[in-house]
């Protein structure tokens, strides 16, 4: 894709700029769509309609109207807050999740940067998110925010362990950390003649690995049943309590960007990334981007579905789930996948 851009854009830096702005555009459009979708999903799950008026067809422009409203809001910083940290936190949060998109192969023709340690980079850069949340919670000078931030710190650090271990078990199979190569490995039809060559069909343990990865990523993205940092019925708004206007909007954007990021990583590692599910039918760079985003959106939809179905865990139970179940299971699964690889 870079060559394609260079063919009609004059200067090098401009090409790089256009190249790097693409994920941002995807995130912004996706976030507007996903928030609308979340409302519709919630509405239909709860036997109501959700937004119906703004924009005409099923309230499609409701989020755009909300965005305009949010931009108009006064930018309030609490009097006793740490102004610098308070203002910085949302930007760091968004930068962390945006930066992670650079290593995601959106299609065979587009990846932000061909990093050899792609998945490692993603895991590392998303850890910045917890730093920004602690910044926000501490700088707000509000006890509820602080409680929310402390919970986040504990939660994110704990759940990174099972995420990383399940990713590691995938790496055993692929032998590479580069997500583009991981996706290329899954091209074609191999299993039983009709199943696509995706890693989830590679062995039964990969299914377990995916389930573990999905649960851990729910916690990483702070989604129900692990949405303790924001748990609106206990902590008012958690670390977001004192935020308003567009700064709050950035946190919201980050949350949705994070959901997409983890879903895309899941799609790449387990569901063949940009590969078409029908072999060479509907294949190619443009269809690749379509399949990639479709797979990501399906996982995002499952996250929304869970959110409107389940209650929330308590903070100690959250830790129990992680340390007593997810981590031992993921380690056992890691060993089993390694054995499977040795035998077959």
């Amino acid at each position: 894709m870079q060559q394609f851009l260079e063919s009609f854009l004059p200067a090098g830096p401009l090409v790089v700029f256009v190249f790097s702005i693409i994920p941002l555009m995807i995130i912004l459009v996706y976030a507007l769509f996903a928030i609308w979708l979340e409302r519709k999903v919630a509405g239909h799950i709860q036997d109501r309609l959700g937004p119906m008026h703004t924009g005409g067809w099923h309230g499609w422009s409701q989020t755009i109207a909300d965005l305009v409203k949010m931009i108009q809001k006064e930018d309030i910083v609490p009097a006793k807050a740490d102004r610098f940290l308070f203002k910085m936190a949302p930007f760091i949060a968004f930068a962390a999740s945006y930066a992670a998109f650079v290593a995601i192969p959106f299609s065979s023709g587009y990846i932000g940067s061909m990093i050899d340690v792609g998945i490692f980079y993603i895991v590392a850069i998303t850890s910045l998110l917890s730093v920004s949340i602690i910044m926000a919670g501490w700088a707000s000078n509000n006890k509820w925010s602080l409680l929310g931030a402390m919970r986040t710190a504990a939660q994110t650090v704990s759940y990174e362990v099972p995420t990383v271990v399940t990713i590691l078990s995938v790496i055993i199979v692929t032998g590479t950390l580069n997500l583009m190569e991981v996706t290329e490995m899954q091209t074609g039809n191999a299993f039983l003649g009709f199943l696509p060559n995706w890693l989830i069909f590679h062995s039964p343990f990969m299914v377990i690995a995916f389930v573990l990865f999905f649960i851990a990523s729910l916690a990483e993205a702070h989604r129900v049943p692990f949405d303790l940092p924001e748990s609106e019925s206990e902590l008012v708004g958690g670390y977001q309590t004192e935020y308003s206007g567009m700064r709050w909007g950035l946190f919201m954007l980050t949350e949705y960007a994070d959901m997409l990021l983890l879903s895309l990583v899941g799609a790449t590692l387990f569901f063949g990334g940009w590969n078409s599910p029908f072999g060479s039918f509907m294949d190619g760079p443009v269809w690749g981007a379509f399949w990639m985003l479709l797979k990501g959106m399906i996982l995002v939809f499952v996250m929304m579905w869970l959110r409107w179905t389940l209650p929330r865990l308590r903070v100690d139970q959250l830790m129990n789930v992680c340390w007593k179940y997810l981590i031992p299971l993921s380690f056992v699964n890691l060993v089993l996948i390694a054995l499977w690889e040795m035998i077959f």
């Binding site: 006890k143 919970r151 019925s233 409107w308 179905t309 389940l310 929330r312 308590r314 139970q317």
Partner: protein, 393 residues
């Protein structure tokens, strides 16, 4: 200009302790409410926290005080009290009216006819279902389950529609009068109510599938906020919160008022099915099955209800009760609602005191919340099911 000197609340904290690494730790005082999404109104809790664990909880009330009792004394008419009674427990206004009407009728020696009695019982039990639906829905909301709340509200809506047809109002009815009713029920009341009963029964199972036996929900509520039988009795708890602790005490059965002695129904008590006896889940499930019992009462009442009768037959022209006093208690969705009325033989009440169940039930909160976590506090408040309008009056 006179200046009012307000004294801040005195907070005593344990002195900072040495954590062993040159740092010091100290408990934190945090204000839960009056503006908080899960305190069911304007309750303020002063929590002393050790990390996330509550070491002390002090409820502060009075943010919704409207001088109900003082107003009654200046009301100049016993009938004018009824709209005020509605506004105490605004979630179960019918039950409040019923309690007041019965107290006044006993004081004045009025006997109402059967049609009035049956309509009153049906209304009271419908209101109990509506009130429990709200309690269960918001309890789920406190635990983080958003969807059951709206499913409960769909059903509550149907009850409110029945009330609207009968009284014209959806929340504060002024329907049950001293000695009768505001007006007769509409012609399709019987069929509407019967249709609701048949449509609602499967919804209880749906609620159980959706929320009651959900693994996460059980984890969150079982063994949380355990209220032992003895503590419950000592604090004077009543209603579902008392029965959740395993005490079989229901005024409808144990001290029947109106015509409750004519119906067959069970008194639901907690059994400690998934955790300890008297935990939040027990209090929750008592409410769920009480709705089923209310349905039974409504069905029987619909069968026995006489088709004819003037609902204002015994409404007195002038309410001037003989000098004397009366204490009359009824079972509302929240527990024992008692009215203590003193009459000095004038048209104005000399004194009306309401024993509000929410107020008494709330008093147990500090006793059962020590040692729980902040998230449990929300569950405990939700499971006691207080209405702040009634706590403060």
């Amino acid at each position: 200009m006179t200046q009012v000197k307000q004294k801040g609340p005195e907070v005593t904290l344990t002195p900072p302790e040495d954590a062993g690494n040159g740092l010091k730790t100290q408990e934190m005082v945090i204000n839960m409410g009056p503006q908080h999404p899960s305190t069911h109104g304007v309750l303020r809790m002063e929590l002393t926290l050790d990390g996330e664990i509550v070491t002390k909880a002090v409820p502060h009330i009075g943010y919704l005080h409207r001088c109900f009792e003082k107003h009654c004394e200046a009301m100049n008419d016993y009938t004018k009290v009824i709209p005020y009674v509605d506004r105490m427990d605004y979630v179960a206004a019918m039950n409040n009216e019923l309690g007041y009407a019965i107290a006044m009728e006993r004081l004045m020696g009025i006997q109402v006819n059967d049609r009035v009695e049956y309509i009153r019982v049906i209304m009271a039990e419908l209101q109990r279902i509506a009130s429990h639906l709200l309690a269960l829905g918001t309890f789920g909301l406190d635990i983080g389950a958003f969807t059951p709340f709206l499913y409960c509200f769909i059903e509550r809506e149907k009850v409110l529609d029945i009330f609207e047809k009968a009284s014209g109002a959806r929340l504060l009815y002024n329907y049950i009068w001293i000695g009768g009713l505001m007006n007769d029920v509409p012609a399709d009341f019987k069929s509407d109510t019967a249709a609701f009963v048949t449509s609602f029964r499967p919804k209880i199972k749906e609620l159980n599938d959706l929320l009651s036996y959900n693994k996460i929900f059980v984890e969150r509520t079982a063994n949380v906020g355990v209220l032992p039988e003895k503590v419950a009795i000592n604090y004077g708890i009543s209603g579902p919160s008392l029965r959740g602790s395993g005490v079989k005490w229901d005024l409808r059965r144990d001290d029947p008022y109106s015509i409750y002695d004519r119906f067959e129904f069970d008194v639901i008590v907690g059994k400690g099915e998934v955790g300890t006896l008297g935990d939040c889940w027990d209090r929750y499930i008592v409410r769920v099955w009480e709705m089923e019992e209310s349905l039974k009462i409504i069905e029987q009442a619909l069968d026995q209800m006489p088709g004819e009768g003037d609902v204002q037959e015994s409404v007195p022209k002038k309410i001037r009760p003989p000098a004397g006093e009366i204490y009359c208690r009824t079972e509302t969705p929240r527990g024992e609602l008692g009215y203590y009325i003193i009459s000095d033989k004038s048209t104005t009440p000399f004194r009306i005191k309401a024993r509000a169940p929410s107020f008494v039930n709330l008093s147990v909160l500090p006793a059962i919340s020590v040692g729980s976590m902040v998230a449990d506090m929300v569950a405990i408040i939700g499971s006691i099911d207080i209405v702040l309008g009634e706590v403060d009056r």
